[in-house]
Amino acid sequence: MNALADDITLREDQMRLGLWMFLATVTMLFAAFTSAYIVRRSGSDWRHVALPPILWLNTLVLGASSVTLEIASRAGLERRWRAAGGGFAAALVLGFGFLAGQIGAWRQMVAEGVYLPSSPHSSFFYMMTGAHALHVVAALAVLLWSAAATWSAGRDVRAWDAQVGLCRTFWHYLGGVWVFLFALVSLY
C-alpha cells in the first residue's frame, strides 16, 4: 500500500471514529432525556396525551428511507450508479417526508389543544421529538452530501463507499433512536 492510500485509510478511520464518538455524545443526550422522563413519570400530575396516528406512518417512512439508503449503497458498490442515484433520491425524499410528517404530528397536537406545557408527557414529547428532528436535519445534510457525491461524475468507489458508510451509520442510528423514543412515549 502506498503512502497516499495509507493516508486516505487513516482519514477514513478518523472520520469513522469521530462519528462514533459524536454518536456516543448523542446517545448520552437522549439517555439523559430518557432518565428524566422516567423520573418525571412518577409525578402525581403525569397525564398521558393522545399521540397522533401519523407517527406510525412517519416511522414507516423513516424505515423505508433506511432501506432505500441500503439499496443505494449496495448498488453503488456494484457500480450501478443510476440505481444508486435513484436510491439516494428516494432516501432523501423519504427523509424529508419524515420531517414533514413530524411537523404534521406537532400541528395535529396543537390543533387538538395539546401544547408544550399542557402536561409533562406532552412536554417530553415535543422536546424529545424536537431534539431528534434537529439531529435528522443534520443527518439530511450528510445524506445530501453523499447523494451529491453519487450523482456527480468521476467517483472513486472506495472514497465514495467510505463517505456513504458514515452517512449510513448516522442515518440508521437516528432511525434506531426514533424507534426507541416512539416506543418510550407510546408505551411508558
Partner: protein, 596 residues
C-alpha cells in the same frame, strides 16, 4: 476497505510522514483563524488567562465583602452603581458575583487553559503528530469557545444582571425570573453560553481522543505515552460522556423558564407572593442531571493537572516517575468510577439512606486509585536530588494541595459527615484546594515548563519563584482556614455573617482570609509581568532546555508549522531518566535503546 484498527498498533511512518509542502499562510490564517493546534492552544491559553483576570476580579469583590462586610467602598460604588450603590454590596449582586466567579473559573479559566489550551498544544506534539486529527473542527471549537466566553461576560450587562443561582444553577432559583434579579435574562444568557461552551468542549474532546487513537508516531504504544497524554485522553472521554446530560438539563431549564413547562418546578411554589402555575416538577431532577456532569467534570479538570505534574517532576528529579503502569490504570479506574459517584453532592437532598450508602461507598472507593496516584507522585521524589525550578515548585505544590485537599474529600464523601458539612465553608475550602488549587498550580507549572517551547524564550526564574511563594502560601492559608470556618458552621453563599451571633467569632478569620486573598491576587502581577517581559526579552530557549524526554523536546522552540521535519520513531517509554547517553543523564523517546 480499511485495514487499520483504531487504538491498535501505532501508525506506520507513512501516516505521520513529512509535512506536505504547503504555501506559507498569511497572518490571518496563521495567527487568527489558524488550524494549527499550537496556535489554537495558545489562543485558548491567552483567552483563559483573560477570563482568569475577570474571575479574580470577582473573587476580589467577594473577599472585600466578606472581610469588611459593612465598609463603604465608595470608589466601587462609582464603578458598580447597581451592585454596590452605597459602596456596600447588595445581597443579590453578591450572589451574581459568586455565581460568575465559579462559572468563569471552572469553565472559562481552568477548562480553557489547562484542558483545551495545553491539551491542544501538547497532545499532538507528545504523540508525534503533525496536528490534531480534525484541525478545522479544532479551529471551530476555539471560536465557539470564545463566543461562549464573550456571551458569559455580556450577561453582566443584561436586565437584572448576571445569573445568580450559583455555578450549579439549581432550580427553582434558576428557573423563575422573579426569584432574584439574576434569574431574569442573566440566567438565560448563562444557559446559552453554557450550551456554546459544551458544543466547543465536545469538539475539543473528540479531537483529543481521535488524535491519541489514530495518529501516534510509530513505536509509540499506549504504554509509552506520557502521563499528560493519558490524562487528557481519559479526561476527554469523560467530557464527551458527561456533558450531554447537562445539555439535556439546560434545554429543560430553558423550557421551564420561557415556555411554561414543569420539568423542575414543583406544585405550589410561591415566589414574590404569587403561586406559580407549575405542577409536579422535581428540582432534584436538575441536581441529578447537573451532578452527573458535575462530578466527572472535576476529574476532567484535575486529571490533566496531575498528568502535567507527573511530566514535570522527572525533569527535575532526574529519575523516572514511580509506578507508571499503576498510575495509568489509576487514571482509567478514576475515569470509570467518576461516572457513578455524583450523588455524593446530594446527601442532604432527602435521598434514600441506601442510595446514600451506595454513593458513600463508591466515593470512598474512588479515593483508592487517587491515593495510589498521589503516593506514586510522592514516591517519584524519593531519593532524588530535587532541582527546585519554578515549574518544579509548582508541581510540588500540586502534590501538597492534592494531599491536603484530598483529605477533606474523605469527610465529604462520607454521608454521615457530609450531613454536617454540606453547604459550609468546609466544602468551599475542599473544592478550591482540589479543582481550584491543584489545577491552578498545575496551570502555572505547565506555563513555566512549556513557555520556552511555546515562545522560544525562557521565563525569569527569580520572578517565577517569587510568584510561586506569593501564590502557594496565601492560597494554602485561605482554603485551609476555610475548612475550619466550615467546621464552625459558616454557611457558603451568604453575603455577610454579621447577623449571626454564633459566627461573630469568625469575623477575624474572614479578615485574615481576605488579606491573604489580596496578597494572592497581588502576587499574580508578578506572573503577568514575567509573562509579558519574557515574551519579548526572555533568554532564547534551546530545543530542550530542561533535558526532558518526551517528543515535543525533539523539535525546535517554538516548533515549526507541522511540528516534525521527519517522522519521529519512538524507541522508548516517556521517562528514560538516569541513563547515560551522549545527551546526558536522559534519553529522549526517539533515541534507540542500546539493545536495539
Amino acid at each position: 476497505m480499511s485495514t487499520h484498527v483504531l487504538g491498535g498498533p501505532p501508525r506506520s511512518p507513512h501516516n505521520v510522514g513529512p509535512a506536505p509542502v504547503e504555501h506559507e499562510p498569511g497572518f490571518i490564517r496563521r495567527y487568527v483563524f489558524s488550524t494549527d493546534h499550537k496556535i489554537i492552544g495558545i489562543q485558548y491559553i491567552l483567552t483563559g488567562l483573560v477570563m482568569a483576570i475577570a474571575g479574580a476580579a470577582l473573587a476580589t469583590l467577594i473577599r472585600l465583602q466578606l472581610g469588611w462586610p459593612e465598609h463603604h467602598w465608595l470608589w466601587l460604588s462609582r464603578l458598580l452603581p447597581v451592585g454596590m450603590p452605597s459602596g456596600v454590596m447588595t445581597p443579590e449582586f453578591y450572589l451574581a458575583v459568586v455565581t460568575m466567579h465559579g462559572t468563569i473559573m471552572v469553565f472559562f479559566f481552568v477548562s480553557f487553559v489547562l484542558v483545551s489550551g495545553f491539551g491542544n498544544y501538547l497532545v499532538p506534539l507528545q504523540v508525534g503528530a503533525r496536528d490534531m486529527a480534525f484541525p478545522f473542527l479544532n479551529m471551530l471549537s476555539y471560536w465557539i469557545a470564545l463566543l461562549s466566553a464573550v456571551t458569559m461576560l455580556a450577561s453582566f450587562l443584561v436586565e437584572g444582571g448576571a445569573a445568580a443561582a450559583g455555578w450549579t444553577a439549581y432550580p427553582p432559583l434558576s428557573a423563575v425570573a422573579a426569584a432574584v434579579p439574576g434569574s431574569q435574562m442573566g440566567q438565560t444568557v448563562w444557559l446559552l453560553s453554557m450550551a456554546l461552551f459544551i458544543a466547543s468542549f465536545t469538539m475539543s474532546g473528540l479531537n483529543i481522543v481521535a488524535t491519541v487513537f489514530s495518529v501516534r508516531a510509530p513505536g509509540l504504544s499506549m504504554m509509552r505515552l506520557p502521563l499528560t497524554v493519558w490524562s487528557y485522553f481519559i479526561a476527554s472521554i469523560l467530557g464527551l460522556l458527561a456533558f450531554p446530560p447537562l445539555t439535556a438539563a439546560a434545554v429543560m431549564l430553558l423550557l421551564d423558564r420561557h415556555f411554561g413547562t414543569s420539568f423542575f418546578l414543583p406544585s405550589g411554589l410561591i415566589i414574590a407572593n404569587k403561586v406559580l402555575p407549575n405542577t409536579g416538577g422535581s428540582p432534584l431532577l436538575w441536581q441529578h442531571l447537573f451532578w452527573f456532569l458535575g462530578h466527572p467534570e472535576v476529574y476532567v479538570l484535575i486529571l490533566p493537572a496531575l498528568g502535567i505534574a507527573c511530566d514535570i517532576l522527572p525533569a527535575f528529579t532526574r529519575k523516572p516517575v514511580f509506578g507508571y503502569r499503576i498510575s495509568v490504570w489509576c487514571l482509567v479506574a478514576v475515569g470509570c468510577l467518576s461516572m457513578i459517584v455524583w450523588g455524593h453532592h446530594m446527601f442532604v437532598s432527602g435521598m434514600s439512606p441506601f442510595s446514600g450508602e451506595y454513593f458513600s461507598l463508591v466515593t470512598l472507593t474512588i479515593t483508592v486509585p487517587m491515593t495510589i496516584f498521589g503516593v506514586n507522585m510522592l514516591a517519584s521524589l524519593w531519593g532524588a536530588k530535587l532541582q527546585l525550578t519554578t515549574a518544579m515548585l509548582f508541581s510540588l505544590g500540586v502534590i501538597a494541595l492534592f494531599g491536603s485537599g484530598g483529605l477533606g474529600g474523605l469527610f465529604l464523601g462520607n454521608a454521615t459527615a457530609d450531613m454536617q458539612l454540606h453547604d459550609t465553608y468546609f466544602v468551599v475550602g475542599h473544592f478550591h484546594m482540589m479543582i481550584g488549587g491543584v489545577t491552578l498550580l498545575a496551570t502555572f507549572g505547565a506555563i513555566y515548563f512549556w513557555f520556552p517551547k511555546m515562545f522560544g524564550r525562557m521565563m525569569n526564574e527569580t520572578l517565577g519563584k517569587l510568584h510561586f511563594w506569593f501564590t502557594f502560601a496565601p492560597f494554602f492559608l485561605i482554603f485551609f482556614m476555610q475548612h475550619f470556618l466550615g467546621l464552625q458552621g459558616a454557611p457558603r453563599r451568604y453575603y455577610a455573617f454579621t447577623a449571626f451571633d454564633y459566627l461573630q467569632k469568625t469575623r477575624g478569620q474572614n479578615l485574615v482570609i481576605s488579606i491573604a486573598a489580596m496578597v494572592l491576587i497581588s502576587g499574580q502581577f508578578l506572573f503577568l509581568v514575567n509573562f509579558v517581559w519574557s515574551l519579548f526579552r526572555g533568554h532564547r530557549a534551546a530545543a530542550n532546555p530542561w533535558h526532558a524526554t518526551t517528543l515535543e523536546w525533539t523539535v525546535a522552540s517554538p516548533p515549526p508549522h507541522g511540528n516534525f521535519d521527519a517522522v519521529p520513531v519512538v524507541q522508548r517509554w516517556a521517562y528514560e531518566y538516569g541513563v547515560q547517553t551522549i545527551d546526558g543523564d536522559f534519553a529522549v523517546q526517539t533515541v534507540p535503546s542500546v539493545s536495539a
